[in-house]
Symmetry: C2
Subunit: 533 residues, 2 copies
């Protein structure tokens, strides 16, 4: 069975055998986009101190055909509680998902808004949430989805911000953009059955809330680089802008996940590493799947080992990402330092316990911390429908090859551009442009490039977060700063401050605020001098 996913995200998607697609599974299955289909209660919209607005956005910024100027309504949220005209504007560059979830889970901005008298603006990303260029038909095909890409999204932000400042009569306000995570309000794991395809094909999809974190953070950095006349600076938290082409070793992501577990406990790492083979051996036995169904408390009998692998895989990868120092409910409710908690579970069994038993118990921490779940939905039937925007983006421009090395705790796997392209063609009818991102935005030798251009960017990364390996981890210039925390995880800085925050987290936020204050302190005198000339 194909081992480790060799694709860009640890958010794997499995292709359901839908009538509208080939029955042979592919790289990019169609996850359940519709939360209702996942039979999970759609979490009620959080109560957040923002007003909702809609901006008439241009469909295609980069061609001038008659249809290019079609208007769709892009949602954005505003908090003006602390603001006055002329004061800074903090813009959160939205990503895949309902913008309310982002706003609800980026308490950091609410924490610092008073100090800066900042206007807070959260802009929903096109093709997500309510911001659908073609209404319910937005995901119909490559014809409609074709307009979903990062350059169109950045231009959306540029137009919206400019228009907003004009309408608020506050064109002199400095704008700072933020790319951070989006704390889910109970992420829903949606797993869809996939028959194995040779050389890797196990993917697991989480709901869009998880994807968001990735795209958002890179967008803020790219926005400052491409639109320095609109944003005076950017805070890009956990932004893997170097996870393209061969800038970052392809194995680094899964090596980092493995390192998190290994550092918690060598035994823990070894148990997980050895569990895949044990699972495979069991599934090959007569009644093996039945036993697995019992062991894993599957709501319905399992048909294949794939879903078990995916279920475990996701738990470990996501837990590494959200290895926060305090109790949190980012994607799932978890205790503080959940990687350590998982390893404690694994290590806590009597010495005769099987690896399968141990890893199931550990993963259950991720899925069932509340102990409310009676069974787990490891498999979904073939009625899942809908394409996820991130899958599209992954198949077009956001191509991030990933492999699993011998040192990782996952089964080894490789990545093939050719097979990847074939799968994307099969699924979406499009060919990826795997080197487009580095042509459009750069990345190679970034320290050389940005030393002589660009400025006012903070790249923050927590080393628990596997995405950090694709990030900027060293200062590039006096105004392009890398803030690295050994114990930080994915966008930890963007969470609301709590009384239990460790000192290093408080210090990280303090430094970010100080740097941003510096940009703003520089801006107003610059502006004054310019106005005089």
């Amino acid at each position: 069975m194909a081992p480790c996913a060799s694709l860009l995200l640890p958010v794997f998607v499995i292709l359901a055998t839908l009538p509208i697609i080939q029955s042979v599974p592919t790289f990019f299955p169609r996850p359940s986009y519709d939360q209702s289909l996942a039979k999970q209660p759609k979490a009620s919209k959080p109560k957040i101190p923002y007003k909702t607005h809609y901006f008439p956005q241009v469909l295609d910024h980069f061609t001038f055909q008659p249809k290019s100027s079609k208007i769709f309504y892009q949602k954005y949220l505003v908090n003006s509680n602390y603001w006055h005209r002329g004061a800074p504007i903090f813009v959160y560059t939205g990503n895949e998902g309902d913008i309310e979830w982002f706003a609800a889970n980026t308490g950091f901005l609410l924490d610092i808004a008073p100090k800066f008298r900042a206007l807070l603006v959260f802009i929903e990303h096109r093709f997500y949430g309510e911001s659908m260029p073609f209404g319910n038909n937005s995901y119909k095909s490559a014809e409609t989805l074709g307009y979903l890409n990062s350059q169109q999204a950045l231009a959306d932000f540029a137009l919206l911000i400019r228009s907003l400042k004009h309408n608020l009569s506050s064109e002199a306000s400095p704008v700072v953009v933020f790319g951070g995570s989006y704390g889910g309000n109970g992420g829903t794991a949606v797993l869809i059955f996939l028959s194995p395809v040779k050389l890797v094909s196990l993917f697991l999809v989480f709901n869009e809330k998880v994807f968001s974190s990735l795209s958002l953070s890179v967008l803020a950095a790219w926005f400052r680089l491409k639109y320095p006349h609109i944003a005076i600076g950017a805070l890009a938290s956990s932004a893997p802008i170097l996870q393209f082409d061969d800038i970052t070793p392809w194995s680094s992501f899964y090596d980092a996940v493995s390192q998190d577990f290994k550092e918690a406990s060598l035994n823990c790492y070894e148990v997980i590493k050895g569990s895949w083979a044990e699972l495979e051996a069991l599934s090959a036995q007569k009644e093996g799947l039945a036993e697995l169904s019992r062991t894993f408390r599957a709501c319905q009998d399992l048909h294949s080992l794939d879903s078990v692998w995916e279920w475990l895989w996701s738990a470990f990868v996501y837990t590494a990402m959200v290895n926060y120092p305090t109790d949190a409910n980012f994607m799932m409710p978890l205790p503080a330092y959940p990687v350590q908690a998982m390893c404690k579970i694994i290590d806590g069994f009597p010495s005769g316990a099987s690896k399968i038993t141990r890893v199931f118990a550990a993963a259950s921490l991720y899925y069932n911390y509340s102990r409310a779940e009676k069974c787990f939905k490891l498999e979904h039937g073939p009625d899942a429908h809908g394409l996820h925007g991130w899958d599209w983006q992954a198949c077009t421009e956001m191509v991030m090859p990933m492999t699993c090395s011998e040192e990782s705790m996952f089964p080894t796997s490789s990545f093939s551009y050719k097979e990847f392209a074939e799968d994307c063609m099969r699924t979406f009818g499009v060919k990826p442009r795997p080197h487009w991102i580095t042509t459009e935005f750069g990345g190679k030798r970034i320290e050389l490039v940005l030393k002589r251009s660009g400025g006012n960017i903070i790249f923050s990364n927590g080393m628990q977060d596997p995405w950090s390996r694709g990030g900027v981890l060293k200062n590039i210039s006096s105004s392009i700063i890398a803030l690295v925390t050994e114990k930080g995880a994915h966008h930890v800085d963007f969470r609301s401050a709590t009384k239990d925050d460790p000192e290093w987290l408080k210090e990280l936020r303090r430094q970010e605020v100080e740097i941003i204050q510096g940009w703003i302190n520089q801006y107003y005198p610059d502006l004054k001098r310019t106005n005089k000339e």
Copy 2:
């Protein structure tokens, strides 16, 4: 009759009454794109030391529809006579017209290539020359023309340069982009009849060679700003990047033309200023047009005064642009300091001579310096066809409002965004996006913005050139430099060096070379340090 053109370019286009368009003339007539129709001999392709290549270019860089990946062949020229692997690459970002004309008329690059051991690359702009995405149907409608815009062109350059460096195994070569003029090899004035439309509507089109100069130079600056990871620096000569929105006063262009003539001779300026009314008065008389036909040696009897106005207008505007210190043949063969020469002609008549007589004689310098022309084609019949790419670009994104003030030597006129948009809709079926360029590229408070981002750009401007008023005329930072020459004209620095060049021109080129050398001297050690890390 509507006076001064209130539109962006001094290159005016007049709508021919074509069967496929409305018979009521509009802002944007359809000039004769086909040189053969203009009954001018198409100048034979110059002999230039470049090899021709074709690059398989992507049609649409910013959407991912199936048709977006359509390939067309983009022409580019290469001179590798002085180059070795690893040495710098100088790229000339092409613009509207056959790339050979550019290469033939940018002798500056050939002059400096040996010193830098530079590879010279001239890239043809999409939708011009041979680089037609839809072959002969490229100009058919907004459906095809929609792909003609500056962001697509910049992305073309990015992809091509990256690919070229890869194929030459010279990925470490520093790339410098150049935006300069394109010396025409005898620009052809093509005039097409236009019935007046209220509030301005006289336009005159020159062949594409003239338009080119404008677009090219801004593209180099924008390329360095958007793709600093591909070009380490840019020399943008006569680049009016501030001629958008209300950054530059709308009257500045025609005020600058007028200032050139006024400085040559106050009387000259006053004669030209007074000639329009005299012409109008004459044309209103019985047999007035017949007399004008004789005075202006029109090849065919004139039907309206418009073409006479346009003929004169163009001569004065273009002569100001190319007011070079030496004999030149940029758009038309002219003596050194042709503005002064024209004014000498105007002032040289006996005191009783009419203004009409004087201005005709002066303008003849532009059209007939060689004295070979027996008559002048002031009007063309309604059989002109074809759309010019620049007209399209002017109607979509390159919106540069221009007006004529009371102080100018042209009849006063205004600009109306509303009327402009209506005309563009009538002509091309598209609505302009008049503020898109400043959203996408910036421009407002550029000194504030680029002080904290960007770097390694030279903006050179000659103050004889009316386009200079929309350029960057002051240093912005230690590496964004403005080189201004009082006596310089349009892209004077890009012409080949001659023994007659004045000292200020030699000094201008010397400084440019020194600054570029500085970028390159910085680059190689930077690269070495990066490779070590």
